[in-house]
């Protein structure tokens, strides 16, 4: 190679390095509309915890303490090794860092963080449950999660004095433990289903009631897991006061601020990741490929059908709500356009809860940004997102911005471990 070509090559490399390292260009000030969007993402705009009329003990401290014990109790699994906290690990933002959950077996879905989940009207990636308490029951009867089955859960409550007295103080008398088979459930294996069928109908009703109440206590506990204020919130509140406070490196770096600009602007992230929890709690098809070895998930199309069939839903006999209070379930959309749509996850814990998507298909945030930049054709249904055409530098800035949302959970230490 000639000296001239070498020199040109070196200059090009230097130019690229300067471009790479140069501070992000920022506008002089946010526009009024941008400032309003930024303010709308701040925790300062988070409403009071929404009431759950289907759970009469949702805000009962005694129920939360009982729920905390259950949350960390491994005896609620067939092998005695898996509690709720095995996958919803407090030190990992109540997630597990794995592509899909591993309980008593390997699951099919990525474990979502529980922080702030009480604000979501729908639970699971496909919204198959319509309350936190109805959700909390499902893993205890799913063979690859905990799978103990409902009589085993009620037997544990009835046989241990501490559980029994805590439960009976909040709810009502439990059935006698010795009347309950160890393994019986309408959702279990052939033996468990037969055990369930042969139970006295009155006892079955009592077990269902106590099982539902265990879920309500678990929900009362999980309602306490709320997001803490991040560096971004301080910045957003400053912008709300004065939209000219652009380069504020005390709070956010220039790249983080530039990433925020992309987030609310050309990146269109805020369309679905909106509000102070960065989620509209709704369902969208964004062309996520199925995990290897899995069929494409029908997502919300199946989820709403499951929620309507769930005996523990808001309109069911175990709910404490009046039918008029079950607005989400009554007016939910069942349309076929929901095929392949999954719930928008909140982003406040995103930088610490890799991998991503409903089956953990995407390993890193950088790859998530790449996915949305390309907006591939969906295998099932249609991708609502359109290609963005962002530069690699903007994708990195978006990722940097998500890091500014990191914050410790705003929940007292006493709730973050087994009691």
């Amino acid at each position: 190679m000639s000296k001239g070509a070498l020199a040109i090559g070196a200059m090009l490399a230097l130019a690229a390095l300067v471009w790479w390292l140069a501070p992000a260009r920022l506008p002089e000030t946010w526009s009024e509309q941008e400032a309003a969007l930024i303010a709308s993402l701040s925790l300062a705009t988070l409403s009071e915890l929404p009431a759950d009329p289907s759970n009469a003990v949702a805000d009962d401290e005694r129920a939360a303490r009982l729920g905390q014990r259950l949350f960390f109790d491994r005896r609620l699994s067939t092998n005695g090794a898996i509690s709720c906290a095995s996958c919803h690990r407090p030190e990992l933002s109540f997630s597990d860092g794995l592509p899909v959950a591993v309980g008593t077996g390997v699951g099919e879905r990525h474990t979502p963080s529980l922080i702030g989940i009480a604000f979501s009207p729908w639970l699971y990636w496909d919204g198959r449950r319509d309350s936190q308490w109805a959700q909390a029951l499902a893993p205890m009867e799913t063979h690859f999660e905990q799978g103990a089955g409902r009589t085993a859960v009620v037997r544990l409550l009835a046989s241990e004095q501490q559980y029994r007295s805590a439960y009976e103080e909040i709810f009502a008398a439990l059935p006698a433990a010795d009347r309950l088979p160890a393994a019986a459930s309408p959702l279990g294996n052939a033996v468990e289903r037969e055990n369930w069928r042969s139970l006295d109908p009155e006892l079955r009703a009592a077990v269902n009631r106590a099982f539902a109440n265990a879920g309500k206590a678990l929900a009362a506990y999980q309602r306490k897991l709320l997001p803490g204020r991040s560096r971004f919130d301080d910045y957003a509140d400053a912008v709300a006061r004065d939209r000219a406070v652009l380069p504020q490196e005390d709070w956010l770096s220039r790249d983080e601020i530039a990433g925020l600009g992309v987030f609310i602007g050309t990146g269109q992230c805020i369309n679905c990741h909106n509000g102070p929890l960065f989620s509209n709690h709704d369902f969208h098809n964004t062309g996520i490929l199925p995990a290897s070895g899995q069929m494409p998930s029908m997502g919300r199309y199946d989820g709403i059908s499951l929620a309507r069939q769930d005996p523990f839903n808001c309109l069911g006999e175990f709910s404490d709500a009046e039918p008029g209070q079950c607005m989400e379930l009554r007016f939910a959309n069942d349309g076929s356009e929901l095929a392949g749509a999954h719930k928008t996850p909140g982003l406040r814990t995103a930088s610490r809860t890799a991998p991503y998507m409903h089956a953990g298909q995407i390993a890193t945030l950088a790859e998530v940004m790449q996915h949305y930049n390309e907006a591939p054709v969906a295998m099932l249904g249609h991708n609502e997102a359109k290609p963005l055409g962002l530069a690699p530098r903007q994708l990195r800035q978006l990722e940097a911005f998500l890091g500014s949302l990191e914050a410790p959970v705003a929940t007292a230490q006493q709730w973050l471990a087994a009691p």
Partner: protein, 141 residues
């Protein structure tokens, strides 16, 4: 009536008046969040429980259906569909009319908008007697 009792009634008067105004049907376009003219020339006035409108909140609307002379059109059947044309998706919920508490006033329940941007709603109306009518509403959130 004693002076004190009169004073008490007078003190309550603004509250009573405010309640009356709040529950009065919006028969004029100025009281409505949206005022539409239907395909057949009728008026559809929309009063939202949530005003100004905001994303991610479940709420209901009162629909006032009036003829060209401003008289209420009762016993109509109204359905709604819609979505966001730019994003190629429909409504996140399936809103439905749950009753007609007074002639020409229909309760539309189960509305929730989950994204900022331009929304388009189509009202399909079957008037008492069977004649079809319709109206479109576009708005920015």
């Amino acid at each position: 009536m004693s002076g004190r009792a009169t004073a008490r009634v007078l003190r309550l008067l603004p509250v009573v008046l405010a309640l009356l105004v709040a529950t009065m049907p919006a028969h004029s376009a100025e009281d409505a969040d949206f005022a539409l003219t239907t395909a057949a020339g009728n008026r559809l006035l929309i009063v939202s429980e949530l005003s100004p409108l905001a994303i991610n909140l479940m709420h209901g609307w009162r629909l006032h259906l009036l003829d060209t002379d401003g008289k209420p059109l009762s016993k109509a059947s109204i359905t709604v569909r819609g979505g966001m044309p730019e994003h190629d998706h429909g409504l996140p919920t399936e809103p439905a009319v749950t009753g007609e508490p007074e002639p020409g006033v229909y309760l539309l329940a189960g509305l929730r908008f989950h994204m900022p941007g331009r929304w388009l709603l189509e009202f399909d109306i079957a008037l008492d007697g069977g004649a079809a009518d319709s109206a479109s509403l576009a708005f920015e959130l």
